[in-house]
Amino acid sequence: MHNMETREKIQFKPETVAEINRIISQFPQGKQKSALLRILHIAQHEFGNWLSVEVMDYIAEFLNIKPIEVYEVASFYSMYNLNPVGKVVLEVCHTGPCCLVGAEKMIKHIEQTLNIKPGETTSDGMFTLKTVECLGACGYGPMLQIGEDYHEKLTIEKLDNLLNVIKNKNN
């Protein structure tokens, strides 16, 4: 469970507010709660890759709904991180079809290379490894998702390459 801590005030950037208002306008008057899932995605992106209680309370206020309604939703869907994660989250599919073509080897390789287990973050805060269920890339496995990008038909070499590129970009 999370404790309230005092922090600087959470606020969306003005352009984000405009985007959110555009999304809300796609639903009938009074049905603004329908925008919740998308707003949570946006908030997660804007506020450091995870959803703190403060951020969720802010969204509740923004949409004029109860905070518990936001917690209920945020904790239901697997894409929302309710705890801090690394800068880059490696979401590797480990469902059947990907495993038929070697997903487990890829996961093992990432574990060994980064010295973390699924659910853990590297000590430098760079990578979090997450195993996820089917991402709809079964014919192009093994695969992983980083942010919005799918990386498919992975091999050990491709994986090493990818990790190096990310490391270099973030150094």
């Binding site: 999370h2 905070p67 917690y71």
Partner: protein
């Protein structure tokens, strides 16, 4: 009015009545058990699957049987519908399965549970459960959370009936708890450490079919079957003031709503009555609360005991 036949008993009911409520109109053996449905709570029902029944004939118009068992609490009757509850082996088997599912992760800590003796799950298990378990895995556990000074939450005992959530939504003015996470990790919680505290929050205790939500002011004080439940009322500016006070000698150990034969309260009561009015002088005792003869609570034969209760209640005069 449309007719429905349940286990051979035919009855006329209003259009839109569910199979469960039609059965309750008849009463007795043909009523399916309910762990999540609560007639006073909108949207409740359909979840626990203990009330599954077999529809052997859809209606006079379309006599085909329904392919699957249906939840009697959320399936409306059709004219000419024929339903098997206790007379269907399929239903009894399914119910046995459901009871097993409800119990595999349940701690079975009845000896230390305040709900014991008035627990719907206990009753259901006696009737439909089996001896022993086939579950060899570790039982699910949850982090303990504190939801305030009056209500104790034991998440491990919860069967996810959602009644307490609907109660908070429909009876209280602000809901601060809900269902978090999903699947078998779902839990009732507030997410942040927050007390569930408003005038009617205590009703979540009465609607809880198991010992997941219990009265902190009554915690470990006594087993319910050692107490004498008495209908009582008082003048209350928040609720009807009609309650049951559970007495040990001359002392009130706890206060609850008045529950009917389906363990549903007749009226919701406020927290002041429930938690803060334990002084006998503040209540007018009407007489013993009738409890089913099958209940362990009846073992005290309290209804037969002459009780010397002096009503010196100032408030009610």
């Amino acid at each position: 009015m449309p007719k429905v036949t349940i286990d051979g008993v035919t009855i006329e009911v209003d259009e839109g009545t569910t199979i469960m409520n039609a059965a309750r109109k008849v009463g007795g053996e043909i009523v399916p058990p309910a762990m999540c449905y609560y007639s006073k709570l909108d949207k409740s029902g359909g979840k626990c699957r203990t009330c599954l029944v077999e529809v052997t004939k859809g209606s006079d118009k379309d006599p085909r049987p329904m392919p699957k068992l249906v939840a009697s609490c959320s399936t409306p009757i059709m004219d000419g519908m024929e339903v098997s509850n206790k007379t269907s082996q399929k239903v009894l088997d399914a119910r046995k399965g459901v009871v097993e599912f409800l119990l595999i992760n349940h701690p079975l800590d009845c000896p230390v549970c305040d709900q014991a003796g008035e627990c719907d799950l206990q009753n259901l298990s006696y009737e439909h459960g089996t001896e022993g378990t086939r579950f060899e895995e570790k039982k699910r556990v949850f982090d303990k959370i504190d939801i305030g000074p009056f209500i104790q939450l034991h998440m491990t005992r919860c069967i996810m009936c959602y009644r307490c959530v609907y109660t908070a939504d429909q009876i209280t003015n602000e809901r601060v708890h809900g269902v978090l996470k999903r699947g078998d990790a779902s839990e009732i919680g507030t997410y942040i450490e927050k007390a569930i505290d408003n005038d009617f929050s205590g009703n979540v205790i009465d609607v809880c079919p198991v010992g997941a939500l219990t009265d902190k002011t009554f915690r470990f004080k006594s087993r319910v079957w050692f107490l004498n439940p008495m209908d009582a009322h008082r003048n209350c500016d928040k609720c009807s003031g009609k309650a049951v006070v559970w007495m040990f000698g001359e002392e009130i150990y706890r206060v609850t709503g008045r529950k009917d034969q389906y363990a549903e309260v007749e009226e919701f009561i406020c927290n002041t009555c429930r938690f803060e009015t334990k002084d006998l002088a503040k209540w007018t005792i009407e007489g013993p609360r009738h409890i089913s003869r099958e209940s362990v609570i009846s073992q005290g034969h309290y209804e037969m005991q002459p009780l010397k209760i002096e009503n010196n209640n100032e408030e009610t005069k």
